[in-house]
C-alpha cells in the first residue's frame, strides 16, 4: 500500500506542476534538473520562464473557451450570433502572439550564445561513442580508457534485486577537476550516439567522421550521471555516462596513477604468460566486453549473435579468430576490438574462449600470447 500512495502523491504533484502556482518553480524530481553549472542554471531558468508564459497563455485561452462552452450552452437557450469575422481582433491577436514570441526569443538567444562556445579548454577530452560504451581520451595527458555499464546482467534480468544506481553506474567514470574549463571533443566510432550529462546541460551528438564540441565548468565536486540519447542499437539503454568531478589535487593524483597503470599494462606484453593466467585474465575481459551478446555460457543469441561454443573458428582456426576480434565482421553486430582491448586483454580473452566450456576439450587447445597480437598489428600496418 505504501508504494501505491507514493505513486498517487507523485501524480498529484505532477498535475499541480502545470497549475499556476509557484510551488514547483524550484528543483524537483519531476522537473528539469537545475544542474550545477552556470549554463545549466540559466537553461533551467529559461525553461521555467517559457513554461510559465505557456501556462498563462493556456489559462487565458482555455479560460475563454470553457467560459464560452459553459455560458453559451444550447441547453440554456443560448442563441448563436452571426458574427464571423473581426479584422482588428485578428490583427490584435496576431501582433500579441508575435510580441510574446519576441519576448521569448531575446533571453533564449542570450543563453544560447553563452552555451555555444568552442574555445580551447584548460583540459580537452575526446569522447568517443562505441556500440555500447564510451571512450575517454585526455588529449594533454595521454590517458585513455573505456567506460562500461557496471550493472550486472542478473539485475537487468530481475534475478537479483536492483541496486541504487541501476543502469546509471559504470566501471570507470570520467574524472575531471572542478573550476576548470573542460572542453569535450565528441565523436562516434560506429553509429551516432549522443553524450548527455543533465547536470551540466551538455548534450551533443557523437557522429562518426565528425568532431563536435561542448564545454563545461563544474564548480562542485560530485558524481554526475547521464545517458546516451541517440538510438544506437540493441544496448542503447545500457551505456550510461558517469562523471566524477574532484578537487584539483585529487585530479592530479589520479592522472599520475593512471599514467603509471598504463605503463604497467604495456610491460605486461613482455611477461611470459601461462595458460592459467591468460584464462583467468580472459574471463574478466570476457565478462566485461563479450557477455552482452555471446552470453556467459558462450551460447550467444542466434541468429544475431552466434554461439562460441563448438565454433570451428574458436576451436581450431587461430588466425581467423584473431582477425575477427581485430577487424570485426562487416555487416554483422561484431565490432572491432582493436582499439578497445590491450594486446594482453585481447590475447587472454581469445585464449579464454578457446579454453572454456567444451572448446578446450574439443578444440586444438592452443593459447594465444600478447606477442601474437602485436605481430598481427605490425603485419596489418604494413
Amino acid at each position: 500500500m505504501k508504494s501505491i500512495s507514493r505513486v498517487t502523491r507523485k501524480f498529484i504533484y505532477a498535475l499541480l506542476f502545470l497549475a499556476p502556482t509557484s510551488v514547483f518553480s524550484e528543483a524537483s524530481d519531476y522537473n528539469m534538473p537545475v544542474g550545477v553549472t552556470e549554463v545549466s542554471k540559466e537553461i533551467f531558468d529559461l525553461h521555467m520562464l517559457i513554461m510559465w508564459i505557456c501556462v498563462w497563455i493556456g489559462v487565458v485561452v482555455f479560460g475563454i473557451m470553457f467560459y464560452s462552452l459553459f455560458k453559451y450552452r444550447k441547453s440554456t437557450g443560448a442563441k448563436a450570433s452571426k458574427i464571423d469575422d473581426h479584422f482588428w481582433l485578428e490583427i490584435t491577436w496576431t501582433v500579441a502572439a508575435t510580441l510574446i514570441l519576441v519576448g521569448m526569443a531575446i533571453p533564449s538567444t542570450t543563453v544560447m550564445i553563452k552555451a555555444y562556445d568552442d574555445r580551447e579548454g584548460d583540459i580537452n577530452i575526446m569522447v568517443t561513442g562505441y556500440q555500447w560504451k564510451w571512450q575517454y581520451k585526455y588529449l594533454e595527458d595521454d590517458i585513455s580508457f573505456f567506460s562500461n555499464l557496471s550493472t550486472s546482467q542478473e539485475q537487468i534480468d530481475n534475478d537479483i534485486p536492483k541496486g541504487e544506481f541501476y543502469l546509471s553506474e559504470v566501471d570507470e567514470p570520467l574524472v575531471i577537476p572542478i573550476n576548470k574549463r573542460i572542453r569535450f571533443l565528441i565523436t562516434g566510432n560506429d553509429v551516432i550516439h549522443s553524450w548527455w550529462v543533465p547536470d551540466f546541460a551538455v548534450k551533443q551528438d557523437a557522429v562518426p567522421g565528425f568532431i563536435n564540441t561542448a564545454w563545461t565548468n563544474v564548480p562542485k565536486p560530485g558524481i554526475y550521471r547521464g545517458a546516451c540519447t541517440e538510438l544506437c542499437g540493441i544496448k542503447h539503454a545500457f551505456m550510461p555516462v558517469v562523471v566524477r568531478a574532484v578537487e584539483q589535487e585529487e585530479y592530479d593524483a589520479w592522472v599520475v596513477e593512471k599514467i603509471a597503470l598504463a605503463e604497467a599494462e604495456r610491460l605486461l606484453n613482455e611477461k611470459v604468460w601461462t595458460k592459467a593466467e591468460l584464462v583467468e585474465r580472459g574471463e574478466g575481459v570476457y565478462l566485461k566486453n563479450c557477455v552482452a551478446c555471446h552470453q556467459t555460457n558462450g551460447q550467444g543469441l542466434p541468429p544475431v549473435f552466434p554461439a562460441l561454443v563448438g565454433s570451428e573458428i574458436v576451436m581450431r582456426d587461430k588466425t581467423r579468430n584473431i582477425e575477427i576480434l581485430m577487424e570485426g565482421v562487416r555487416g554483422a553486430a561484431m565490432q572491432s576490438f582493436a582499439n578497445q582491448l590491450s594486446e594482453v586483454d585481447m590475447a587472454s580473452v581469445i585464449t579464454y574462449t578457446r579454453q572454456s566450456w567444451s572448446n578446450g576439450k574439443n578444440g586444438d587447445g592452443e593459447i594465444i600470447i600478447p606477442q601474437e597480437i602485436v605481430d598481427y598489428k605490425n603485419k596489418v600496418d604494413l
Binding site: 485561452v61 464560452s68 458574427i83 534480468d157 549522443s194 548527455w196 562518426p208 563536435n212 547521464g226 540519447t229
Partner: protein, 529 residues
C-alpha cells in the same frame, strides 16, 4: 466520347458490383474512402498492439517481456505504422469520401488512379510487417531510421523496408495528384477558392506538401539502398559521406510530414465546431492564410529536430526563430476556434466533444513544441520522453482525435444510420481520461531525464512509467469500443435524417445529399451562391 456518356446514362443510378471484386476493382470515391478507413482502422490495432508491447515492457524496470532487439523493432514499426499506416490513410479516406461531396462533384477526378493508390498500401505494409517474421527481424533503427544505424549496421531486412517506403510514397503521391486535380477542376459552379470548405482547403495544401516532400523521402531511402548494396558512401563518413546529411534530408521531408498529419484535422474540427456552435467559423480567410503560412514555414524549420547534431550558432538561431514563427499561425487558428464558440449556441454531441478535446490537447502539444523550439532548453529536452509526450499530444489527441471526430460527424451521412450517442460519449470520456493519463506524465519522466527508445530505465523513473503503462492499456482497449460503435451503427443504428445534425444545410453541400448519399455523389452539379 458522347456515345460512352449515353451508354452510361442508360444504367441510371447503378449501385456497386457485388462481392470481393467490388472492392478490388472499385473506382468509386466512397468505396475507396471506405477501404482507406478500414485499412487505417486495422493498422491502428496492429500499431496499437505494438505500443502495448512497449508499455508492458516499460511497466517496471528490468527486462521482463521482450529483449531490447525486439523492443527496438516494436518502437520502429509502431512509429512507421501509426504515421504511414494509420494517420495518413485515414485522412486520405476522409478526403475520398468528403471532397467530392463537399465541392459538389460526382466522384474524384482520376478514379482508376484512386484505386491504384489505395491498393499499393496493403502491399507496402504487407512487405513491412512481413519483415518481423524473417530471421534477421524487422527494422530496428527507429522510425526516423538515422544512418549509419539504418545502413551499415542495419539488419538485412532493411531492403524490404526501403521498398515498402517507396511503395507508400508512390501511393501518397498518386493520391495527392488526384486530390489536387479534383479540387482544382471539379468544384461546383460558384464555389470560388475562398468559398471552399476548410476541410477541402486543408487537403489542397496537404496534397501539395505531400507532392513536395514524398520524392525527398524516396530519394533518401534510395541513397540508403545505394549505400547498402552498390558501394556508395552518401551517409558513410569512412567513404567521404556525411551521416548528418541523412538527417537534413530526412527532416526536410519529416517536418512537412508532421503538418501533413495535422492540417486535415484542422479542417475537420473547423467544420465540427461551427456545426455544434451553430455559428459560422470565425475568421474564415485568416484560417486559410494560417493554413498556408504553416505549410510554407514547414519547409524552413527542419533542423529544429537536430539541435544537438552540431550546427553553427547562426544555424541554431535561424531554426529557433523560424520554428517560433509557426506558433503565430497556429495560435491564430486556436483563437479563431475559441472565437467561433464564443456567443454560439453550443451542444455537446460526441464529434463536438472530440473537437473540443482536440483544441485543448493539441494546444498543450503546441506549447511543448514551443518549449522544444528554444535551442538551449532543447539541449535538455532533446531525445527524452518530453519529446515523446510532445509529439504524442499533437498526434493522438491531435490528429487521431480529429479523425475520430470526423468519423462520428460524418458516419451517419455515410451509412444513413446514427451511432449510439451514449456509447460515443463513453468512448470519448474513456479516451480523454486515458490519453492524458498516458501522455501527460511523460513530460515529467522526460524532464527528469529518461531518454526515449529505452527498453529499460533507472529506478527513479519507475513510478511514472507504471502510470503511463496503465493509461496506455486503458486507451488501447477503449479503441475496441470505437470498433463496436461503428459496427453497431452500420448494422442496427437508428435512421439518420439527410441533415443528420441541426440545420446543417448551411454548413456544407454534403448535407444536401441523402443519407446514405447516392453512389455517384452529385450527378448534377449544385450551384453555390
Amino acid at each position: 466520347m458522347s456515345t460512352i456518356v449515353e451508354t452510361h446514362d442508360d444504367h441510371g443510378h447503378h449501385g456497386p458490383a457485388k462481392g470481393l471484386t467490388r472492392w478490388l476493382y472499385t473506382t468509386n470515391h466512397k468505396d475507396i474512402g471506405t477501404l482507406y478507413l478500414w485499412f487505417s482502422f486495422l493498422m491502428l490495432f496492429i500499431g496499437g498492439a505494438m505500443a502495448m508491447v512497449i508499455r508492458a515492457e516499460l511497466f517496471e524496470p528490468g527486462l521482463q517481456i521482450v529483449q531490447p532487439e525486439f523492443f527496438n523493432q516494436m518502437t520502429t514499426n509502431h512509429g512507421l505504422i501509426m504515421v504511414f499506416g494509420v494517420i495518413m490513410p485515414a485522412f486520405v479516406g476522409l478526403a475520398n469520401w468528403m471532397i467530392p461531396m463537399q465541392i459538389g462533384a460526382p466522384d474524384m477526378a482520376l478514379p482508376r488512379l484512386n484505386n491504384l493508390s489505395f491498393w499499393l498500401l496493403p502491399m507496402a505494409f504487407g512487405i513491412l510487417i512481413s519483415t518481423l517474421f524473417m530471421p534477421a527481424g524487422g527494422p530496428n533503427f527507429g522510425w526516423t531510421f538515422y544512418a549509419p544505424l539504418s545502413t551499415t549496421y542495419a539488419p538485412d531486412t532493411v531492403t524490404f523496408f526501403i521498398f515498402s517506403v517507396h511503395v507508400m510514397g508512390a501511393s501518397s503521391i498518386l493520391g495527392s495528384i488526384n486530390i489536387i486535380t479534383t479540387i482544382l477542376n471539379m468544384r461546383a459552379p460558384g464555389m470560388t477558392l475562398m468559398k471552399m470548405p476548410l476541410f477541402v482547403w486543408s487537403w489542397l495544401i496537404t496534397a501539395y506538401l505531400l507532392i513536395a516532400v514524398m520524392p525527398v523521402l524516396a530519394g533518401t531511402v534510395t541513397m540508403m539502398l545505394m549505400d547498402i548494396h552498390f558501394g556508395t558512401s552518401f551517409f558513410d563518413a569512412a567513404g567521404g559521406g556525411d551521416p548528418v546529411l541523412f538527417q537534413h534530408i530526412f527532416w526536410f521531408f519529416g517536418h512537412p510530414e508532421v503538418y501533413i498529419m495535422i492540417l486535415p484535422a484542422f479542417g475537420i474540427v473547423s467544420h465540427i465546431i461551427e456545426t455544434f456552435s451553430r455559428k459560422p467559423i470565425f475568421g474564415y480567410s485568416s484560417m486559410v492564410y494560417a493554413l498556408t503560412s504553416i505549410a510554407v514555414l514547414s519547409f524552413v524549420v527542419w533542423a529544429h529536430h537536430m539541435f544537438t547534431v552540431g550546427m553553427p550558432l547562426a544555424g541554431e538561431l535561424f531554426f529557433m526563430y523560424s520554428t517560433m514563427l509557426i506558433a503565430i499561425p497556429t495560435g491564430v487558428k486556436v483563437f479563431n476556434w475559441v472565437a467561433t464558440m464564443f456567443r454560439g449556441s453550443i451542444s455537446f454531441e460526441t464529434p463536438m466533444l472530440f473537437a473540443i478535446a482536440f483544441v485543448s490537447l493539441f494546444t498543450i502539444g503546441g506549447f511543448s513544441g514551443l518549449m522544444l523550439a528554444i535551442v538551449p532548453a532543447d539541449f535538455q529536452y532533446h531525445d527524452t520522453y518530453f519529446v515523446v509526450a510532445h509529439f504524442h499530444y499533437v498526434l493522438v489527441p491531435g490528429s487521431l482525435f480529429g479523425i475520430i471526430a470526423g468519423v462520428y460527424y460524418w458516419l451517419p451521412k455515410w451509412t444513413g444510420n446514427m451511432y449510439d450517442e451514449t456509447l460515443g460519449k463513453l468512448h470519448f470520456w474513456l479516451s480523454f481520461f486515458s490519453v492524458n493519463l498516458t501522455f501527460f506524465p511523460m513530460h515529467f519522466v522526460g524532464l527528469a531525464g529518461m531518454p526515449r527508445r529505452y527498453p529499460d530505465y533507472a529506478l527513479q523513473f519507475a513510478d511514472f512509467n507504471a502510470i503511463v503503462s496503465v493509461g496506455a492499456f486503458i486507451f488501447g482497449f477503449t479503441q475496441l469500443l470505437l470498433l463496436f460503435i461503428v459496427i453497431k451503427s452500420i448494422r442496427t443504428g437508428k435512421k439518420a435524417s439527410d441533415e443528420v445534425w441541426e440545420d446543417t444545410k448551411d454548413w456544407g453541400l454534403e448535407w444536401t445529399l441523402d443519407s446514405p448519399p447516392p453512389y455517384h455523389s452529385f450527378t448534377v452539379q449544385p450551384e453555390v451562391k
